[in-house]
Point group: C2
Chain length 154, copies 2
Amino acid sequence: MLSIPPSEVPRHCNIADALEVVGDRWSLLVVRELFYGPQRFTDIARHTGAPRDILAVRLRKLEEHGVLMRVPYSEHPPRHEYRLTPSGRALSPVLLTLKRWGSENLSGGADPIVLRHSCGAEFVAQVHCKACGEILPMDASDAGKLFVADLPRD
Amino acid sequence: MLSIPPSEVPRHCNIADALEVVGDRWSLLVVRELFYGPQRFTDIARHTGAPRDILAVRLRKLEEHGVLMRVPYSEHPPRHEYRLTPSGRALSPVLLTLKRWGSENLSGGADPIVLRHSCGAEFVAQVHCKACGEILPMDASDAGKLFVADLPRD
DNA sequence: ATAATAAGTTTGATTTTCAAACCAACTCTT
DNA sequence: AAGAGTTGGTTTGAAAATCAAACTTATTAT
C-alpha cells in the first residue's frame, strides 16, 4: 500500500508564477490602462488610483518582467511613455476572464472596459476542451462534473 | 469642439471589482487548491504557503463574497472543510488563462495544475471575436492591430 | 519673472504581513 | 486516567509594504 507523504512545501505552479508578477493590487489595472494605448506616468496614476511611489516600483517590476516597455517621447527633459510588450498584450485573456467573472458573479454594475475586434464586435474569452471542444460554461452551474484535477494528493 | 474633461477619479470597472475580491497574493491560490476538491484549513495553508492568520482572514472574505463555503464534517468539535461555490468554480477560466500566460511568458517550468474534461483531454482558454469568431492569438505577436478599446480618453 | 507640467522621490504615519507561539476542544495511545 | 497528538484557528511582536502629501528637478508656456 503506497502512500505519498504529505508535502511540507507549497505547490509551485505557473499560476503562482504569474501571480508573482501581476498578482498585486495594481499591476493588472496598469495593464488594463495600457490596453487603451501608450500611457504616461501621471495618467496611469490617475486612472488606476495607485499611489505614485508604489506605481513607480510596479512599473519597474513589470518592465523587468517584460510586460511593458518605456518608449521615449522627448529628450530634454527625458520623458517616456509606457507601452505593452507582446507579453503584456498576451494578458488580454486574463483581463477578459476576470472582467466576465466580475460582471457575472459580483454585484456591481460598471462595465466600461471593452476590447473590440477591428470588425467592431466584442472579444470574449471561452474555455473549452482541447480534444472534443466542449465548452466549459463560465457560470459554472454544474462545472463540478465537467473537470477533474490530476495531482498528487497527500 | 467637444472635449472630455480629465477625470480625477480612478476608472471603476468589473476588472477592478474582481481584483478587489481575488486580487491579492493568496486568494487565487486558495481557489486553485479547492479545485482539487474540498480542503481543510491546514492543507490549504500548507499547499499555498499562506500564513495561517492571513489565510483565516482571506477565507472569511472569500466566503462573504460567495466564492467558497464552509461545509461541516464534524460536530464536537465543530469542524468544517472549504468548498468552492458555483461562483468560485466560475473562476476556472481566470486560472486557466493565468496559467497559460505564466507558462508561455515567464521563464519557469513547473506546470502541475491541469484541469481536465471528463473525456480526459485538457481544457484551454481562448479569446475570440463574438461576432466573426476570429481568434486572438495568445502569444499576441501582433495583437495590437487586432483590438482597440473604446473609452473616454482625456 | 512666474506659473505650469511631468516624472518621479522623499517623508513620516498607518496598515499589512509574517513566523512562531499559543489556545481550546477533542481523540488517541498507553 | 494521564499524556501526546490533531485541528482550526487567534495572539503577539517585529518587519515590511502601503499610503497621501509634500518636495525636487528639468523644461516649456505666459
